[in-house]
Amino acid sequence: MELPGLFTYWIVVVLMMTGFYVVIAQGNLVKKVVGLNIFQVSVFVFYISMSKVKGGTAPILEDGIEVYANPLPHVLILTAIVVGIATTALGLALVVRIRETYGTVEEDEINAREREP
């Protein structure tokens, strides 16, 4: 019944949990950032799906267009994407510097090296 209509929301849930799991379970710092990205993208999809209006088109000012999607979440997500890029860039920059000083990007090896005096 509602499955096709709620399909995107199921995708959101799956992506969110996948990303979250990768962040928690992965020991590789780069993969953690990837997981974080998937996690954030799920929220983008969530916002975009909720702005959809049944039978609506793109929100363009034009004759004959009366039903259109809510443009506000799109704009919000543009901002959130920018924030996401900044976070990813900073996260990866930190990983580069961690790799320079520790010589590894694996969490357990870093922990072992931190315990050395």
């Binding site: 979250f20 962040v23 710092l29 953690k32 974080l36 996690f39 954030q40 929220v43 969530f46 916002y47 909720m50 979440p73 919000l76 901002t79 959130a80 924030v83 900044a86 976070t87 900073l90 996260g91 930190l94 990983v95 510097r97 961690i98 000083t101 520790y102 870093i110 931190e114």
Partner: protein, 493 residues
């Protein structure tokens, strides 16, 4: 008329000064610019507080777009109070920073330090001033991203992993926050906080709003380091440069507490959230466990900065405890503790900065006999430590007095007892440092140590003095905090 534009200036000044610091590149001019801008921010926030005290809530439409469609800056008593805390700490830390940063940050990165510092200040002030839930997220990320960079500037290589860990946890927290905002938007079609407050009651019983509340609570709790979501905090505070720790410890978690207060008492104010949903028990329980667990861990830390970081987690417990009472006395205690804890923790971490400057370490074994070698620094530390314990005539006593009273008002005497017992744990960890500094001899053959320079002593003693001043005469702070609490609870009552 400049008075009408103050809300915009509050955020725009540090925001514009930040890229200017990059353009300037040279250390001394960048510092001067940051100094001028932070003190101007303090002036603006005090002017705003006076305006609010005189004329009530200020609403400012950014770009002339009317709320609830446009972004609204809304300064009420609670936000004006937080603005003053943040900008006061931001400006007092600045004179301290000049010498300390040279010692602890690589010379070619100092101008970037000031850039990030100003951006972080922008974000924190923005969170407090904005009346728009999504705009709040943007400011949250501005302050968070810049604080990750600030932490990673520490000389110890563990600063990098601490910053990375904070980045992961902080981003998860912020993302949880926008999931919650998105769900509220789904149900109400608005992002304006005041507008949300009027629309939420009609849909409060839906599962979407309840899930939104859960996401918001967990997301913000990550940011404010509520036990057990505090794991990022100890290392981040311990390995960041001392100036950064002094600034963040006094402002970042406080602003997150403010966000929690906003969500609970403004957005969900009319729903009587704490009475109708099982939120109160959760907050109360976590706050109490945090107060004891974090204090107990602090006792066994040998790195004093780490010890103070754990103590911060415990102190956040007191603030959240104040929120969980949901009474005027309790919320006043929580809000006044925001201010009081900012004063004492900033002074304590500044003392650490002085010690790092002269000795190069804050390990407890290096503090032997320091009371004789750096008398002024250690005396300031003792004043801050006594406040942390909550001794009468210090600010810590005022907040704890209110929290105990709030607990007794509701006949929660075990809670009152626990608040007092947890202070004993603070005695234990503060005593360890006092013992090392005053009751152990100066190690033989230790190099002569100079007292910290005046530019660092002065800000530190200003805060330590404020700890005593507002401990003896708390009328002014309590007046603002009580009125802010009353204002916030109007939605509840």
């Amino acid at each position: 008329m400049i008075a009408a534009q103050l809300p915009a200036l509050q955020v725009v000044m540090p925001l514009l000064a930040a890229p200017l610091c990059v353009v300037i590149r040279r250390t001394a001019p960048a510092w001067s610019l940051a100094l001028v801008v932070t003190w101007a921010c303090l002036a603006v926030s005090i002017a705003l507080l006076i305006q609010v005290l005189d004329g009530g809530t200020i609403s400012y439409e950014i770009g002339g777009w009317a709320a609830p469609w446009g972004i609204e800056y809304r300064v009420d008593l609670a936000s004006a109070f937080v603005l003053v805390i943040v900008s006061a700490i931001g400006s007092v830390v600045m004179p301290f920073a000049r010498v300390s940063v040279v010692r602890e940050v690589a010379p070619d990165r100092i101008y970037l330090f000031y850039t990030m510092y100003l951006l972080c200040l922008t974000g924190l002030l923005g969170i407090a001033i904005t009346g728009d839930a999504f705009n709040l997220f943007v400011f949250l990320e501005i302050s968070s991203l810049s604080s990750y960079v600030l932490i990673s500037l520490g000389r110890d290589r563990r600063a990098l992993t601490a910053a990375y860990r904070y980045l992961i946890m902080g981003t998860i927290g912020a993302t949880f926050y926008i999931i919650g905002v998105g769900m509220m938007y789904m149900m109400t079609g608005t992002l304006n906080i005041a507008d949300l407050a009027t629309l939420i009651p009609a849909v409060a019983d839906t599962r979407t709003i309840q899930v939104a509340l859960a996401f918001l609570t967990v997301g913000v709790s990550l940011k404010l380091a509520l036990f057990p979501l505090h794991l990022w905090l100890p290392n981040a505070y311990a390995f960041a440069p001392s100036v950064v720790t002094a600034f963040l410890a006094a402002t970042a978690t406080k602003v997150a507490v403010y966000v929690l207060v906003r969500i609970y008492f403004t957005v969900f104010g009319a729903v009587q959230l704490l009475e109708t949903m099982p939120v109160r028990g959760v907050l109360l329980g976590l706050a109490l466990v945090g107060m004891f667990a974090a204090s107990a861990v602090a006792i066994f830390q040998n790195d004093v900065k780490r010890m103070l970081a754990y103590s911060s987690v415990a102190q956040v417990g007191y603030m959240v405890l104040g929120i969980s009472f949901a009474t005027v006395t309790g919320l006043t205690g929580g809000l006044v503790h925001l201010f009081n804890h900012a004063l004492m923790k900033c002074a304590l971490f500044m003392a650490m900065g002085c010690i790092v400057l002269r000795i190069g370490s804050v390990h407890i074994r290096d503090l032997d006999g320091l009371g004789k070698r750096m008398p002024l620094t250690m005396a300031a530390f003792v004043v801050g430590g006594l406040s942390l314990i909550g001794l009468p005539l210090t600010v810590g006593f005022v907040s704890k007095w209110y929290l105990v009273q709030a607990a007794l008002e509701q006949d929660w005497w075990p809670v009152a007892l626990l608040v007092m017992l947890s202070s004993l744990l603070a005695v234990a960890y503060v005593w360890r440092i006092v013992e090392a500094a005053y009751f152990r001899p100066v190690p033989a053959g230790a190099p002569a140590v100079q007292e910290a320079p005046v530019s660092m002593l002065l800000p530190m003693w200003l805060l330590a003095g404020a700890c005593v001043y507002f401990g003896i005469d708390a009328t002014r702070t309590l007046e603002v905090a009580t009125n802010a609490a009353l204002f916030l609870l109007e939605g509840v009552r």
